[in-house]
Amino acid sequence: MAPGAPSSSPSPILAALLFSSLVLSPAQAIVVYTDKEVYGAVGSKVTLHCSFWSSEWVSDDISFTWRYQPEGGRDAISIFHYAKGQPYIDEVGTFKERIQWVGDPQWKDGSIVIHNLDYSDNGTFTCDVKNPPDIVGKTSQVTLYVFEKVPTRYGVVLGAVIGGVLGVVLLLLLLFYVVRYCWLRRQAALQRRLSAVEKGKLHKPGKDTTKRGRQTPVLYAMLDHSRSTKAASEKKPKGLGESRKDKK
């Protein structure tokens, strides 16, 4: 408030900020997050996750409370409590010796595991987190459904269909391109062979006329055939080399 004094000028601004943050901002509350629905199979175990967001740091006085409301019932009974670093598990009620604390306050996790599920465990579980001085907030509920066999989770069929069809299409495309590439290469090799044989045939008539006068027709035909194959095999590497040189 004192004019011209730089050291005291931040304080009214600071006071205004504090005032606004304490009174005006609605974000000063705990928000608890759980799953909406959890499915479990009879006899197995299920994890009830609970996480929270708090505008304060996690204090040592943080407390978690799990309440259970049976399906169709009206009363919610408290089945688990965690306070001052110590978990308190239900030892007399329906969840006797079936609850296990797997949460960690430092990681903002207040999850519990219920073992040995039964059909009577169907109902709504409420997770309540209090982080002093941040105690105002909403709780969150998760509904447990116990089945004989757990139905497949949402998204398995979705992902499988999309992944399968895309994979098949991509595979077919790849296959098509590979086959086409191999076929084109084979075509190019055949072309080279053809041009080499043609070049060989151009040279052949000169050599043949010298031999024709000496051999009998049958022997000549055989010799001619063997010579033509020999000439072709001789010409082939030369032809390839020539074509490679041409390309270069």
Binding site: V156, V157, L158
Partner: protein
């Protein structure tokens, strides 16, 4: 020439827009006060309060969602490939890949809508209903996509 190109692109984009709207908008089945689609059912109670629940995890509904998403993916890929092929194809060549992907998109839409028509009673138990406009858009997108794909296969590139 430019007119042809533009009209083909407009057709393709129209198919894409139809597919997007049909997949996202919540109007596949409408009844008195409630509207459902692939992702959620919303109902408006007499007090003008709207509740939206996510749709059931039925396998057939999931397959419908999957094929609609696939059709969008194929159509987008086809548009992208069309522009690629426009610049890389030799003169006189045909836009085979573009056409194939667009035809695939059309087939996916058709299978999605058919499955939905046959199996929608499994997750939607109201008897008083009629099909909403998103459903009709999906059915309209199917022949348009096929037409677009066939045009691509027939078309020859000219310089």
């Amino acid at each position: 020439m430019i007119v042809l190109l533009l009209s083909i692109i407009v057709l393709h984009v129209a198919v894409l827009v139809l597919l997007f709207v049909a997949t996202i908008v919540s109007q596949w089945i409408v009844g008195n006060g409630h509207a459902t689609d692939l992702w959620q059912n919303c109902s408006t109670t007499p007090g003008n309060i709207q509740h939206c629940f996510s749709s059931s995890a039925n396998e057939w509904l999931q397959s419908v969602q999957a094929t609609m998403i696939l059709s969008i993916i194929f159509s987008v890929l086809s548009l992208f490939l069309f522009f690629c092929q426009l610049f890389t194809l030799t003169k006189g060549g045909r836009f085979y890949i573009t056409g194939i992907f667009q035809i695939l998109a059309g087939l996916c839409v058709m299978s999605a809508t058919s499955i939905y028509t046959v199996r929608h009673s499994e997750w939607h138990l109201d008897s008083a209903y009629s099909y909403g406009f998103a459903y009709i858009l999906a059915w309209v997108a199917f022949p348009l996509a096929l037409l677009s794909g066939v045009i691509y296969v027939i078309l020859r590139k000219r310089e």
